[in-house]
Amino acid sequence: MLFHTHLFIFGFLPVALAAFFIAAKVNKRLPVFVLIAASLIFYAYWMPEVTLLLLGSIVFNYLAGLFLQSDRPKATRRLAVIAAIAIDLGLLAWFKYANFFTETLHALTGFGPGPLDIILPIGISFYTFTQIAYLVDSYKGEVKEKSFSSYVLFVTFFPHLIAGPVLHHKEMMPQFADPNTYRFNWLRITLGALLFAIGLWKKVVFADTMAPWANDAFNAADAGMIPELYTAWGGSLAYTLQIYFDFSGYSDMAVGLGLMFGIVLPINFDSPYRSLSIVDFWRRWHMTLSRFLRDYLYIPLGGNRNGDVSRYRNLFLTMLLGGLWHGASWLFVVWGALHGIYLIIAHLWGQAGLSLQRFVGKTAAPFAGWAITMFAVIIAWVFFRATTIGGAGDMLGGMAGMNGADPAVLMNFLADPRLWGVGSPIIVMLAAVLLPNSMWMVRQAERFLTDNKRAAILGGGLLTGVATFVGLIFIGAQNEFLYFQF
């Protein structure tokens, strides 16, 4: 089931909310079971058979966690945690990467099986990572809440189940154990609804209207048509905006939904396209994944503990694997590698004591930093979006002006009626760069609501209602969330 469908908004959500709060009146723990049931229905709606895989994975990891939390010798537990993680990664590798490996093997050697008929279970990357973190923390003795029902809910909680945010048990399990969570709370319901409305708008009005612009350019390039300057830049910029509003819109909806059920989910985006450096960008983009990669990959690899060479190697490997996590394609690996290189350059730049101020002056430095960062990010997105190396190369060639520039393309763009619409590329671009982000808006709303500022509340509520109506009108495009495939 998708958040941005009428079935979800007018059917599933109200029923789930009503059942949740009615259950809370009946029994303290009943809402947990209601949420688990709702989450499983939500997941099974897409493909019931893969729900068994999810449940199997949950039971396996929970039992493994209990074993790791026991008093057994450290060496035994160490072996167990490695084995359990290997099984998790093996499952992920089979469902997500088997075709990638066999196709690469076939391409390199001419041998090996052809494409395997494997369905990628939705959300497998997210629930695998979530549970690996649980295993590691169980091994380290950092798991306190051990209730099975809380654990099942931690993994399956439907707002985050299929596309994150990547949760940490330490921030979720205590909430499930807290009776206050299940108390009906007008403030949380309202802030959740506001955040959901903002996310819906970002997804259906902004991201989905950017999709055709991006698809036209990239699909043509992947099909072998050579894009000229304006087409290549237009397509790349459109995708840059699409992926941000798609994923941050989804995350907003997820956090908003969590809040409606009394659960506070972690924030995933913080205006990444306002970053002034690539390091800054990675503090603001997909923050929960960055946190996971830092805590469970970069630091275990050695982090910055063994000198600069080791640090940069670890950084590069982390980004490379982070790229591969997004999908079974060499293009994702290139995307991750590019960001690894960007980060290494940024750190070397800082270590060398260099500063943009020295080159462009104090006033221009932030703008130069922003422009360089965005340029690097957009170049990397080309590899992320293209489906062939050739297509990515042609897009980059077009952006570099190697395929000429056709003024007619620019004129057609300027004459396009979509330029005047609510999802106009210009509006979307300005929103990404200049507007305060959704979290800021929700925090402002929280302040107004608690201070009972009537004019702001009335105006804000009215505006949100109008925006929600427009969002509901825009529902209907066939675009799924981009991050579902990851």
Binding site: R188, D270, F367, G421, V442, L449, G465, V466, T468, F469
Partner: protein, 387 residues
């Protein structure tokens, strides 16, 4: 461009922390916010519902529907008594020329519209009869696609737009009674009780068009101009209009969406019987005229589809409806698009219809013998199949 960076995940924001401890904090403001949000939502929906649809819907369909409505109003005001009243679908719009029939000496009112199936035809006829229109004969002119079409109504705004006036509730109640899908039965029942505005059906149908206009605001102006032009033209042509204007096509028509095991839905039987009932009650005879398919379509589509249509045709007589013809074909060159005839095809179809209608009237002792433009059936007889 500088602002506080969220270096890590902030759990204290968003109603966390203090709010969790006190369920009442901000509750009054929150309720006011939700109320005004609901107000904004409802007000937006109301504005969208009241907005001139001419600017929202894209031409030509909406313009045609507007002209259709004008025509209904005019016929009702005049309490028209035509020799022929034609109800039908887009194939009738293109193929059965009201102007040519009038030239042949009949007074004719054609109420055919794209996407309008047998149920919608019944609803329109019911509405016309209710307002005092008294035809001498009613012609049900449909392509086989609308015999096979599942469900009471295709989900086109124009179809729902036809169900207006004091008989709208009755029409939706019948749709609920005859429809096969449980969900739609319930929806039609709700509409029959509360009306299309309160149930939001108008808004739901408006959604794609509204999205289009919000996405491309200049489209509103071109929509309005296009719809007005279409409205005037469709009225002036007495409901005759071409769709595709190609000089022939060998592509398959809309029937291609159906499988060989397609059955005639119950709603079409019920609606046909109801049309016959209206005829008996108000003293007009009802005939059924099947529009042709292309030779390619006949050859390439599953024969079972046409057998099903033929079986339905044979049931009509028992209902009190006289079928004028069976499944038949015209050469591909007579089609302007896969489903609709071009000028050459229209000439052939109208001539065929007039001849069959006149022959039928003669055999029943009607006034068709007065028609001036009788056409030999010989040519068409040779092209018919299933006979």
């Amino acid at each position: 461009m500088t602002h506080k960076s969220g270096a890590d995940v902030d759990l204290d924001a968003l109603g966390g922390g203090d709010a969790a401890a006190s369920g009442k904090r901000g509750g009054k403001g929150a309720r006011l916010f939700l109320l005004s949000m609901a107000g904004g939502l409802i007000a937006s929906a109301a504005i969208a519902s009241l907005a001139p649809e001419n600017f929202i819907h894209s031409p030509p369909e909406f313009g045609m529907a507007e002209a259709f409505e004008d025509h209904v109003t005019a016929a009702c005001a005049a309490k028209a008594t035509p020799d022929l009243l034609i109800i039908g679908d887009s194939r009738a719009v293109a193929g059965v020329s009201a102007q040519d029939i009038a030239s042949a000496g009949y007074s004719v009112e054609k109420f055919a519209l794209g996407g309008s199936g047998i149920f919608t035809g019944w609803a329109v006829l019911d509405r016309l009869v209710d307002c005092g229109v008294r035809p001498k004969s009613v012609v049900m002119a449909y392509g086989s696609v609308h015999v096979l079409d599942t469900g009471a109504m295709m989900d086109r705004t124009t179809n729902y737009d036809l169900l207006k006036g004091p008989r709208a509730g009755h029409a939706f109640a019948k749709a609920s009674e005859w429809e096969a899908s449980t969900f739609r039965r319930l929806a039609y029942k709700a509409i029959s009780v509360a009306g299309p505005e309160l149930t939001g059906v108008d808004l739901v149908l408006l959604q794609p068009a509204l999205r289009n206009v919000l996405e491309k605001p200049p489209a509103a102006i071109s929509n309005n101009l296009g719809n007005e032009a279409e409205r005037a033209s469709f009225l002036a042509s007495a409901g005759d209009r071409f769709y595709g204007k190609a000089n022939g096509t060998s592509e398959l028509p809309d029937e291609k969406q159906y499988t060989a095991d397609q059955a005639v839905p119950q709603v079409n039987r019920e609606a046909s019987a109801a049309i016959a009932d209206l005829g008996r009650t108000h003293g007009f005879d009802v005939v059924f005229y099947l529009l042709p398919v292309s030779e390619t379509a006949k050859a390439k589509l599953p024969p079972e589809l046409f057998e099903t249509v033929e079986a339905f045709r044979q049931e009509l007589e028992a209902m009190g409806i006289r079928p004028l013809n069976a499944v038949w074909t015209l050469p591909d060159a007579d089609f302007g698009d896969p489903s609709h005839v071009n000028q050459r095809g229209r000439d052939a179809v109208t001539a065929d219809f007039l001849a069959r209608f006149a022959a039928g009237q003669l055999s029943r002792g009607g006034r068709a013998g007065e028609a001036h433009n009788r056409v030999s059936l010989t040519v068409q007889e040779g092209e018919q199949t299933g006979q």
